[in-house]
Amino acid sequence: MLFQPCNNDTSNGCAVFTDQPISLAMAYVARQEWQDLYETGLGLSRGTIFAQLDKPFEREGTTTDGTR
């Protein structure tokens, strides 16, 4: 399930990909931080220098825990 209830009761459920509160019926793209960079050679072969964006489509799509 993409959304799951959060432990802190203030929010009305957070996305599994981000701890930022998300409202219903509004598209949301989590803000990317400058981190986890690949070395340039690896970046070229993976098609991104950001490990977080290295999400090859593997038949059933990215894993549900959002790490890949």
Partner: protein, 91 residues
């Protein structure tokens, strides 16, 4: 052949740095004040210039053009991209 592998190494370096800059560019478009990304961009811009200069000094232009003292349009002499690709697979 040694000359080919050096050429492959140098062209690969240009490609790597150019790609890294494109990625940093995309990030900076949405994070214009990010100092780390800015420093990264400056660093790889310089590295790219050096990599290009080194490649060009040995093997000629990376884009169509005329170099100092050329008496021929050498652009047609260099290996075409698909020929480079073939060489890359052989190396």
């Amino acid at each position: 052949m040694a000359q080919d592998s050096t050429r492959q190494t140098l062209i690969k370096r240009v490609q790597m740095y150019e790609f890294a800059l494109t990625e940093a560019n995309l990030f900076l478009d949405t994070h214009p004040d990010n100092q780390e990304a800015l420093a990264y961009y400056k660093k790889y811009s310089e590295l790219l210039q050096q990599a290009k200069a080194e490649y060009i000094s040995r093997y000629g232009l990376l884009e169509p053009g005329v170099m100092e003292g050329d008496t021929r349009w050498r652009w047609v002499d260099d290996p075409w991209p698909w020929e480079m690709q073939k060489e890359q697979e052989e190396v």
